[in-house]
């Protein structure tokens, strides 16, 4: 019998992975977080604000990091990636690679928490992403918001348009699925834009808005009614640079007429797709993936991806930070229960 303490490997140190680590560590088992970036926090590090409570995402990251640092059972390896893994009965021998060292570790369970990427919006030539200036995807726009904060409003864009469903709900150029979180973060971004520059005109082009979480509907309504963001029902068709502006052509489908907006900036809510490394890692640990590359779930064990392999967060499907924490905690409960039974 091996005297080694039971160890869980968490791949990905975003909010889902951190939550899983904290719960497993505080339950008395060893945890190793492997994060490819130089800091913990994942996508939250890129965000200016969060929905539905207008909170600073950094507060959430800081809270998790503090809990991780306080828990001696958790070891964090930054700038590190998993290069290979081999299953040995009830353990995995895993090879890790960082700039300085290559290392081999033995672990007893794995939680995949590799997160998401944004669909490459340059596929939509009609929106000019990559071809025209001032067309951003939503994650890039969060950086823009950070840069805008504190500036005089005369320096800020006066007309900003947000396009939802870029790559989502599109069987021709993207995916049939709904990316679930775009309706909410787009409302948030338009709202922040109005806070930073109350004179700005913000237009959200939408097919419908999906606000199916606690406080979500109220959140979107407040953006429309209190922050005066203008929602236009229709999917934009084309962006044509004209006289230094980005002329947007769309149909207002409620009126049934073509409309145009001359914008200074356009934000594309690109579809959520799994992180590019997810497929490779899933294969290493014999986790199933679906046709889009997300980790496949089992209806009866929603955070289990295989024998001793669990997952949490957006590697399973688009999810907001609240849901990612729920899933991280659920994966942790599965790991702890498994270790207790071993």
């Amino acid at each position: 019998m091996n005297n080694r303490k039971k160890t869980a490997l968490i791949i990905g140190g975003g909010v889902a992975g951190m939550e899983a680590a904290i719960k497993i560590g505080n339950a008395g088992y060893q945890v190793l977080i492997v994060e490819k970036e130089p800091q913990l926090g994942g996508a939250l590090n890129k965000l200016y604000s969060s929905f539905p409570r207008w909170e600073n995402p950094q507060d959430l990251v800081d809270d998790k990091v503090k809990k991780i640092e306080k828990c001696s059972a958790i070891k964090t390896m930054l700038n590190t990636v998993v290069t290979s893994a081999e299953r040995k009965e009830k353990t995995f021998i895993v090879n890790l690679d960082s700039a300085s060292v290559s290392e081999q570790v033995e672990v007893d369970a794995v939680v995949l928490a590799t997160g998401f990427e944004m669909f490459d919006a340059s596929v939509y030539g009609e929106y000019g992403y990559g071809a025209f200036e001032n067309v951003y995807n939503s994650l890039e726009f969060e950086d823009q918001l950070k840069a805008m904060a504190g500036k005089d409003k005369s320096e800020l864009p006066q007309v900003v348009a947000f396009f939802k469903c870029v790559g989502s709900r599109d069987r021709s150029k993207g995916f049939p699925y709904c990316s679930k979180i775009c309706c909410m973060y787009t409302a948030k971004q338009a709202g922040v834009m109005k806070d930073l520059n109350p004179d700005a005109k913000c237009f959200v082009f939408y097919m419908d808005y999906r606000a199916t979480g606690k406080e979500y509907e109220e959140f979107v309504r407040s953006v429309i009614e209190e922050k005066h963001v203008r929602y236009v029902r229709g999917r934009p068709a084309k962006v044509l640079p004209e006289n230094g502006k980005l002329m947007i052509r769309a149909e207002d489908t409620l009126m049934g007429v073509p409309v145009e907006v001359a914008a200074d900036m356009i934000v594309l809510a690109s579809a959520i797709v799994p992180n590019a490394k997810t497929g490779e890692l899933a294969e290493m640990f014999a986790a199933k993936t679906d046709q889009y590359g997300f980790i496949e779930y089992d209806s009866k064990n929603p955070v289990q991806a295989g024998e001793r392999v669990f997952f949490a967060g957006a590697c399973g499907f688009a999810v907001e930070s609240l849901g990612a924490q729920h899933q991280g905690a659920a994966a942790a409960a599965d790991v702890v229960a498994l270790f207790n039974q071993d």
Binding site: Y124, G125, E126, G128, A131, F132, K238, V239, L240, P241, E242, N243, M247
Partner: protein
Amino acid sequence: MNVAYFPGCSLHGLAKEYGISVEVVCKHLGINLNEIEDWNCCGATAAHSLNHELTISLSARNLAIARDMKMNKVLAPCAGCFSRLKGASYELRNNSVLAAEVGEIIQAEPPVEPEVSNLLQFIMEDQGLNAVAEKTIKPLQGLKLAAYYGCLLTRPKDVVQFDDPEQPISMDLILQAMGADTVVWAHKAECCGGGYAASDTDIVLDLSGQVLESAQQAGADAIVVACPMCGVNLDSRQEAIAAKKGKKYDLPIIYLTQLMGIAFGYSPAQLGLKRLLTSPFPLLQSKGLA
């Protein structure tokens, strides 16, 4: 290289200079154009507007002749003809019921074999940019051009399967390979009004007017086309557009092959440049190209 050649009616008529320059440039590139013997009109907008079977059959006859000439590729420099031939080929390959009907109509085996290419596709896929660059002895330096693709060189994308239908780039690359600059502009793939030039001229004045405005805003010296409908609409309607908008553009509309001919060392006379209504000579002379 041997290729079946479908000039279509416009290259014998309103866009003669396109036909002339296509032949000059192809010869220079070592391409043997084998004109489809006794070809018939593709039917253009009229046939597809009124009779689906007719439009497919008119193209099928041409493709069948190309097949009987043992040609596996058809070059159709007119975007309209290309669209009809390519569309027919696509339907004959994917709709066996229709193919059988068309076989009855043309009294021949449905011709599914020949591939159909437009000029841009043919240059990019069969010649390559290097061939264009190597043959360039008179670089088009100093020319700032708006490459205009219009609709049918890249659309519908599932049928054409070439370049990006919204931000096409192939013509820009060909022009750049000859030393020209190309502008980033909005309307490179918007419509000029196509076949409505005679029958509902206002449509063409509206849409072609937007194209001219966009090219001028982007700072282009001229618009380059690879379609006789685009060429004729943009060139010959400039006066009417000016009258309607109260704004004169005077933008030369030059066929891609005319510019290739200049870069390859041919004289303006050999390329029919004098036939263009909006004279390209002041521009070309200012750059030492004519």
